[in-house]
Amino acid sequence: MTTNTQSPISITRVPKNAGWRLFLQTVIARMYPRIIGQLREKSWVFFDLFLPIMGVAAYVFVYRAIKAPEDYVGFVVVGGAMTAFWLNVLWAMSSQLYWEKETGNLGLYIMAPNSLMAILLGMALGGMLATTLRAVIILVLGSWLFNVQFAVSSFLQLFAVFMLTMTALYGMGMMFASVFLLLSREAWHWTNLAQEPVYLASGFYFPVSSFNFWIAASASIIPLTLGLDAIRQLVFASGPSLGFVSVQIEIAVLVALCVIFLTAARYLLRYMERLAIREGRITESRR
């Protein structure tokens, strides 16, 4: 005998987002903990400001010890502020999928019906907001402590350079994140290794034009190299004379880097995700 009873519980369909709405929802969902985490955990104010200011001050006093022109002190302050972005991209963007793997979240990200690119974009935007706040505080505090004199020649270009640098930089972070999907405990070491060499190659504490043209040109693959150089040209009186190439060329190259890194990130994320699933690396934990 078959019964044909209907369940008394009426099932109401919950509207679910798809397409660009889901993408946007994912971005906001991943951005949220980054911002809220910063607000809840106040100790970053000490550690994230204290550390860079110490580094900036040490390099400022080196320049003072060797009697460098005062604009170099400004170069160090601006470079020191920008280290916040590089550290954020390295530790909270590129290697983030490795940390997520370590804490067991990565499998959930892959299972959920959303785009990994949206998750990374959410991380990027959340991280960028908090990091911008840090960079601004370092810049203001450093300028005040060391009496840095700015002479901004174009606010519009400065804004464009900053936004393009950030887009290209975080695009590069997304691209590297895909590579980190395959890494295990070596990820920490690679991230650690990418700090000082990039500070050196990108000229965080000196004008990148101090290098041979081809070395500086090769270092320009890192968006911060041209971004920093352009910012220094736009905000310091001696900036243009110490610049690598003209600001217009730097803006054009930054636009190209944005397109290249974002496209590469999209392609590589798909490819590496498939590869990581195939090789069973999504949930592995080789400590």
Partner: protein, 294 residues
């Protein structure tokens, strides 16, 4: 029927030495076996040389490469030997973070027949070894390519070895203090070692003479044992060129060594006391097996 068989207890080595030796071996494995030896060698070379190269480029941009000036070896050697600070001091406190947060084995270390402070000091040995490689590479590069006036025949070896030994002990004791503090904090624990190393970098005259600091900040530098240690290492390696700066010019090597010895003893006592106190509090508050996921 009850048996009263006594099993022979094997001769176990001293728990202090055993803890230290085992931890040193473990630390070396953790530091080095994450990749193949070639990549590890490249990693060990690139990182220290890049950090030094930043200062070299800054210096050469301003002075047009005047490496003969006494300030250059002052900066270069100070920076090279400062790598020990990050390696040993931050390394020992890092062992707590790694074992508690990453490997989640700190609770097992505590229940094993080990002496925990000696275990942590042993973990610092691997960092000391990798730090020594970095220092050696950096100094050799400076001598070969940047005219750092270091002549092996003129080095004051007893002073160098004596001050290096005292410095390493002093850094290890400072590391133990940080390790104790690390046991008690959850958030931002990753940055404690770096924060202290960063502050000492500024105040110890590692890369510029203390006279460059504002007058009101200089006393902080005089309180740091690192200031005397770095000065002694420079004097041992390059003699009078290091003593050319007014900061510590009025002090003899013997006086500096005595100050360093006294400060090392102070930090030794402090390290032992602080670690014991923090260790007790961490046990009491149940923080030994804490995982913060930060």
């Amino acid at each position: 029927m009850t048996t009263n068989t006594q099993y022979p207890i094997p001769n176990t080595p001293s728990p202090l030495w055993h803890s230290f030796k085992t931890a040193a071996w473990l630390g070396w494995q953790i530091e080095s076996n994450w990749t193949d030896p070639l990549i590890f060698a490249i990693y060990s070379v690139i990182k220290p040389l890049s950090a030094s190269a930043i200062l070299v480029v800054m210096y050469s941009v301003i002075t047009n490469g005047d490496y003969a000036s006494p300030i250059f070896p002052y900066i270069y050697l100070g920076n090279a030997f400062y790598q020990y600070v990050g390696a040993i001091m931050a390394g020992i406190s890092w062992a707590v973070i790694e074992d508690r947060e990453h490997y989640r084995t700190l609770k097992y270390i505590y229940v094993a027949p080990l002496n925990v402070p000696m275990y942590l000091l042993g973990r610092g040995v691997a960092r000391f070894a990798t730090g020594s490689i970095s220092v050696f590479i950096t100094v050799t590069f400076g001598v070969l390519f940047l005219q750092v006036p270091l002549n092996l025949a003129e080095v004051n070896w007893p002073l160098f070895i004596g001050s290096l030994f005292l410095g390493v002990v002093m850094l290890a004791m400072m590391g133990l203090i940080l390790a104790g503090v690390t046991l008690l904090i959850a958030n931002q624990v990753w940055f404690v070692g770096e924060a202290v190393a960063g502050a000492l970098y500024l105040f110890s005259g590692a890369i510029f003479p203390l006279d460059v600091l504002p007058v009101w900040l200089r006393p902080v530098g005089y309180l740091m044992p690192l200031t005397y240690w770095l000065e002694l290492v420079r004097r041992a390696l390059i003699g009078n060129a290091a003593a050319a700066f007014p900061t510590l010019a009025g002090w003899s090597n013997g006086q500096l060594l005595s100050i360093l010895l006294a400060l090392t003893l102070v930090f030794g006592g402090l390290g032992y006391y602080v670690f014991r106190k923090c260790d007790h509090l961490a046990r009491e508050r149940g923080m030994i097996d804490m995982t913060t996921n930060y």
